[in-house]
């Protein structure tokens, strides 16, 4: 079977009923989709299949033969963050980070579909994505910011230097 993941074509050896999640994580070692529940309940495994947000844990790989799969690695890189990645960074929308990949792909599908910055519409778009750190307010702020077309100054928040020296005794 053939899959294109983040623009790279792959020949897949896993059986046809293997979940797309297992193919990505175990065969292709693309580990940003997470196995949070493997029952379609938490949203952490969400990827885009031809631009549509899908639960990869419930998707047999045979059903997505020949499609274009996008994971969060495909949105942008640390040196070239996509608008959504910039917004999640600026608004501190990731806490532990485990739900973040799935959350961002649901958000990307919402933005690509012309979603507005209305909080209720965004809540609807990320319904079924569990953030147990309960960072929903910041997540919704980040998605709304992209829908509005905000620009972000990331010189501090995305500093590649990592932790800054705050000066004095910390």
């Amino acid at each position: 079977m053939n899959l294109t993941v983040n623009g790279v074509a792959h020949e897949v050896e896993s059986g046809p009923l293997t979940s797309l999640l297992d193919v990505l994580r175990e065969e292709l070692a693309i580990t940003s989709p997470k196995a949070g529940c493997e029952q379609g309940g938490c949203g952490a495994c969400t990827v885009l299949v031809d631009g549509v947000a899908r639960r990869s844990c419930l998707t047999p790989v045979a059903s997505v033969q020949g499609t274009e799969i996008t994971t969060v690695e495909g949105l942008g890189s640390p040196s070239d963050l996509s608008p959504l990645q910039q917004a999640f960074t600026h608004h501190y929308a990731a806490q532990c980070g485990f739900c973040t990949s799935g959350m961002m792909l649901a958000a990307q599908a919402y933005i690509d579909g012309g979603g507005s910055d209305g909080h209720e519409a965004i809540q609807e778009a990320i319904a079924g994505h569990v953030c147990r750190c309960t960072g929903y307010v910041k997540i919704i702020d980040a998605i709304a910011a992209v829908a509005r077309g905000d620009e972000f100054d990331l010189t501090v928040t995305a500093s590649s230097a990592g932790m800054v020296n705050l000066g004095g005794a910390v």
Binding site: Q85, C96, G97, A158
Partner: protein, 456 residues
């Protein structure tokens, strides 16, 4: 104060949004085996037979581990603090909660590991189970634990946390009203989106590298070393990346068992609990049973408190003695009550062992106390803000365990709450500060309890 309010970099922020963060289950080592566990299907039983031979000879199975393979079977999370051990790493002759691990297997893939577990033969003699802490003290209650139905090893081998302060009999004799209440917050599962997970790689030099989602790396290091009976320098724990914990990843749930399988098989092993395992077998916040009787005056002073707490520890002690100790020190909440009679027990039941969760021991009593203070206000027909502010902890007041407060925050917090909900405080209440008691705020019953903050 250079950090508060400032825009700071998250050291892991960019990695999170680009999918670069490597969580425990994202570590990829060639040749890694999958781990699965045989768990107790019942709440309480004697193990009459365990036969793992069919699993051991199954194609693709590399190691099976039972209690016989564990160098030190029982070790406690608080053993390093002198609290004796009570929990076997793998059940030996008795299972005390549904989901308790009995045997573990490492196999080529997840399906083979599951088949190996299914091939293990387990015979159980089921016994009556105990779920209600209130029944633990009954003469005919099932005996849950090797130490009896409640923890007996507090200092001086006391079987409870006990606080006696002031003159409780006089407080109740002087009271205008006795206000009683029973409070029972339920268990809560932490539900981290990342389930318990672990990988262990046996290194060529004999060390074990442990990739752990623990919140408490040095707990895990000590617990694994003790069970394995190896020096700490034989273990390297890689932690710090936790996909949600909230207290539930303080327990060393997976690391020791993965180490034993890695040692026995000589292969890297990997264990990721299913969501079902996380719900049924991982520890929870404890359920509590709290009975309060307060001796109060008509004008809203709390003279004394009698309190009984039953802390549901589940099948083993883990961190519960520590949680109950915190609870006892805080059992008057944010308020000063000078005369106290408190008894608290860590009660064993046939539930999954309970553990840390965000302020454990204290959240339960905060809930009970705040609800109870509102109930007192309702019974007396007194303004609930007034009761809170009169009885609020102030500088020099002493806690249930005799510590004099140097900087108590009850007064400003209560005032901010009133402001936040738009409640109009009377001028004398609005003028309050945490300053030491004097005048109307130092009635006779509060004089004797005052201490010197500088003594602590």
């Amino acid at each position: 104060m250079k950090a508060v309010g400032a825009r700071l970099p998250r050291y892991d922020g960019v990695a999170h949004v680009t999918g670069r963060t490597v969580f425990v289950d994202d570590v990829r080592v060639p040749g890694t085996l999958w781990v699965k566990a045989l768990r107790s299907p019942v709440h309480h039983a004697d193990i009459t037979r365990l036969d793992t031979s069919a699993a051991e000879t199954m194609k693709g199975v590399h190691a099976v581990v039972t209690w016989q393979d564990v160098p030190l079977l029982e070790y406690g999370h608080l053993s390093a603090l002198g609290i004796p051990a009570d929990e076997p790493l793998l059940a030996k002759d008795e299972v005390r909660y549904k989901g308790q691990p009995i045997a573990i297997v490492a196999a080529e893939d997840e399906e083979t590991a599951m088949a190996a577990v299914a091939a293990m033969k387990l015979d159980l003699q089921e016994k009556p189970a105990l779920f209600d802490v209130r029944k633990a003290f009954d003469a005919d209650a099932p005996v849950v634990h090797q130490w009896g139905n409640w923890y007996p090893h507090f200092e001086a081998e006391m079987d409870r946390r006990q606080i006696r302060k002031g003159d409780i009999d006089r407080a109740f004799a002087d009271a205008d009203v006795i206000v009683q209440g029973v409070y029972r917050p339920a268990a809560i599962e932490h539900v981290p989106v990342e389930t318990q997970s672990c990988q262990v790689v046996p290194e060529a030099n004999g060390r074990l590298t442990i990739y752990s989602c623990t919140q408490a790396l040095y707990f895990s290091l000590g617990v694994v070393a003790a069970h394995l009976q190896v020096p700490l320098n034989r273990l390297k724990v890689v932690g710090g990346t936790v996909g949600g914990g909230f207290g539930g990843k303080v327990d060393t749930a997976t690391e020791t068992m993965c180490c034993l399988l890695a040692q026995k098989s000589g292969r890297p092993v990997r264990w990721r609990w299913t969501r079902e395992e996380e719900f049924l077998c991982s520890s929870t916040r404890a359920p509590w049973h709290m009975e309060i009787a307060d001796a109060v005056t008509e004008d809203g002073w709390i003279l004394g408190r009698k309190m009984l707490t039953l802390h549901d520890s589940g099948a083993y002690a883990r961190f519960s003695p520590y949680g109950l100790t915190k609870h006892s020190f805080h059992h008057t909440g944010a308020y000063t009550i000078p005369n106290l009679h408190f008894d608290g027990y860590v009660v064993f039941t046939n539930r999954v062992p309970t553990t840390a969760m965000r302020g454990f021991g204290v959240t339960s009593v905060s809930f009970a106390t705040e609800t109870h203070v509102s109930r007192i206000a309702e019974v007396l027909g007194v303004d609930p803000w007034e009761i809170r502010l009169k009885n609020a902890n102030r500088i020099g007041d002493t806690s249930p365990n005799g510590v004099a407060y140097a900087d108590p925050s009850t007064v400003p917090v209560v005032k901010a709450l009133a402001d936040g909900v738009g409640a109009k405080l009377a001028p004398n209440l609005q003028a309050m500060t945490p300053a030491a008691r004097e005048g109307d705020l130092l009635p006779e019953h509060l004089v004797a309890q005052i201490g010197n903050p500088e003594d602590h």
